[in-house]
């Protein structure tokens, strides 16, 4: 990891020399500016969350005043930091976290095992299976949601954690992603391990999984976001506070007669933080190049 892992076209023309540090600073600054431009729409969200009058927020929308606050206040955040009573956001937050963790952990295991078998297994007809998996990704959630509601209520799963986890653990997208990642790894890996007499599961667990940190991180993050932002499904299958996730509670700020812009904005900012932490925690796994060293060895 001594040099750039990859050199992109931009700095090619500049000759090598002691200007390298300077170049890197300029380069970093440029990337920062691009990043700031990309996330500039989100400033509006953050600024609005610091205004405590929802009519003010509404009146400011549609002009650059949406990007400026003269008297910032944290009152919106204080208001939603409510852990008991009718709208116990603290409880919803915990519910969402439980659902996220269970979904992601079980999803990682189940989807990666399936992807592994599709990539390296000896099962007949796995090409067909793979095609089916891709085809399943085509089905939009909206077209199966009502039959699913009926199935789940018949199974007596309404208003549980299970009903919010089970349907989304196995996912064609992530099976496909794992398959794609595993299939990319050199076949010598598998052959060597098999020669040593390792079983399929052992090869998967001891050789392929440790090599798959980038894929595992990717899937964790994507599944995490998906689970965190699920909204229509939990609305349909939860009844009480017992298992209600935070996304549903926050959607109530977008009410019938009035939108609680102040708290909706603050809640939206807060909603992003856990996923951001998840991302920052996992993205470190992208950095080290396990694959390279493994192949060498």
């Amino acid at each position: 990891m001594s040099d750039l892992v990859l050199s992109q076209p931009a700095p090619l023309a500049i000759p090598r020399g002691n200007s390298k540090t300077g170049l890197r600073i300029v380069q970093t600054a440029c990337i920062f500016i691009i990043a700031l431009v990309m996330i500039s729409p989100l400033f509006m969200l953050f600024i609005a969350s610091l205004k405590d009058d929802r009519f003010r927020i509404l009146a400011d929308m549609g002009s650059f005043r949406a990007f400026w606050v003269a008297d910032p206040t944290l009152s919106n955040y204080r208001e939603i930091a409510n852990f008991s009573g009718e709208l116990a956001y603290g409880r919803y937050l915990v519910n969402s976290l439980v659902i996220l963790v269970v979904t992601v952990v079980s999803g990682l295991i189940i989807n990666s095992m399936a992807g592994f078998v599709l990539a390296w297994g000896s099962l007949r007809g796995k090409a067909v299976l793979l095609a089916v998996v891709v085809a399943l990704y085509v089905i939009p959630q909206e077209s199966i949601i009502m039959p699913l509601v009926v199935m789940m209520s018949r199974a007596g799963l309404t208003d549980t954690f299970a009903v919010q986890i089970l349907p989304w653990v196995a996912s064609p997208l992530y099976v496909f992603l794992f398959y794609q990642f595993f299939a990319q790894l050199p076949k010598e890996l598998y052959e060597a391990a098999e020669m040593d007499g390792a079983s399929a599961f052992r090869i998967y667990r001891s050789i392929y999984m440790p090599l798959s940190l980038p894929a595992l991180a990717t899937v964790s993050i994507l599944m995490g976001i998906e689970s965190w932002n699920q909204y229509l499904w939990p609305t349909l299958v939860t009844q009480t506070d017992y298992a209600r996730p935070i996304s549903v509670a926050i959607a109530t700020f977008f009410g019938q007669d009035s939108i609680y812009w102040d708290r909706a904005m603050a809640a939206s900012v807060l909603m992003m933080i856990p996923v951001l932490i998840l991302y920052l925690a996992f993205q470190r796994w992208f950095v080290s190049s396990f694959v390279g060293s493994a192949v060498k060895g």
Partner: protein, 310 residues
């Protein structure tokens, strides 16, 4: 889907007993996913094949549910709005693919190098992807405001007042383009991290070898990075295409298919029929048709990609 060069057949065949053991192990490993998918995805979807051939309403009604054969399909195919919606998602896909994947690829390249404050930068670029779509729509609805929203002010400023304010979401000629901008912005982070993982998968040794051979950075990019990312490109292309054809949430929140049907999408058309007008049979027919169409496109894509060996 196309990426695998080695098949199991090429592997040496061990003894029979081990074969059988291996078979059951593999079955056990793939079973949880297959089972869950069968229950939660395939079963409800297969039910909709049957529903599509009935006049079933969303919720039970006093009138009996009848088998109506292919009537729903016939009606879907003769509704000009269905064809409009199909054309719209095709347009959307054609626009969003290069914009979103290009953005994702470029940002991934930028971030896949040693940088000071790397974590912060990566976090920043990923922020839009973790923002929920409802919030994204609120923000962009403001940016898009006509005539004096921020985006119009920027356009006006950059063009020195030459360009008149654009009714981004209200002008049938612009609405879909605006949805493309917003969608690409919201979702590029998704493809970005897939590219980042893909870049990570390219062995460092290949770069070292290329450097020793004296290959320039540009040559390394074309001859090491691009071939190394081939499977990732294919994956991202297939996935993004399918996602694009399922376009719904943004449209439902911001334009509801309008203005003048210019942003009507197949899934939105289906939801309107099924949830608002309560014609579940009809909506099921639409979802079956969408399924077949997107599947054909995915297969076609795969064929084409194979042919050009991308």
């Amino acid at each position: 889907m196309t990426l695998q060069q080695t098949s199991a057949a090429a592997l040496p065949r061990p003894a029979r007993r081990r074969d059988r053991q291996r078979f059951w192990q593999e079955v056990a490993m793939i079973a949880p996913a297959v089972l869950l998918l069968a229950i939660f995805l395939i079963t409800p979807f297969l039910l909709s094949f049957w529903t599509a051939m009935t006049n079933q309403p969303l919720v039970p009604r006093p009138t009996p549910v009848r088998f109506v054969g292919l009537l729903n399909f016939q009606r879907v195919f003769t509704d000009p709005l269905f064809w409009t919606s199909l054309w719209n998602v095709t347009r959307f896909t054609a626009w969003v693919l290069p914009v979103q994947c290009g953005l994702a690829f470029l940002t991934a390249l930028l971030l896949h190098q040693k940088l000071p404050m790397q974590n912060l930068l990566r976090g920043m670029f990923f922020l839009p992807a973790i923002t929920s779509m409802v919030v994204v729509c609120v923000i962009w609805g403001t940016l898009f405001q006509y005539p004096s929203g921020p985006l119009n002010q920027i356009v006006g400023f950059l063009s020195g007042g030459m360009v008149q304010p654009i009714d981004w979401l209200g002008d049938p000629n612009w609405a879909m383009f605006s949805i493309v901008l917003l969608s690409a912005w919201q979702a590029y982070g998704f493809q970005m991290i897939i590219y980042l993982a893909g870049l990570q998968g390219i062995p460092e040794e290949l770069y070292d070898a290329a450097r020793i051979d004296g290959a320039s950075a540009l040559r390394r990019f074309w001859h090491v990075t691009m071939p190394g990312l081939r499977p990732t490109h294919v994956f991202v292309l297939v996935i993004t295409t399918i996602q694009a054809f399922k376009l719904y949430t943004q449209v439902a929140i911001l334009t509801q298919g309008g203005p003048k049907e210019s942003t009507e999408t197949v899934v939105h058309y289906m939801v309107r029929a099924g949830f608002e007008e309560q014609k579940l049979g009809y909506a099921s027919a639409v979802s079956v048709i969408l399924f077949v169409i997107v599947l054909l496109i995915a297969l076609l894509q795969r064929k084409l990609l194979r042919r050009f060996d991308v």
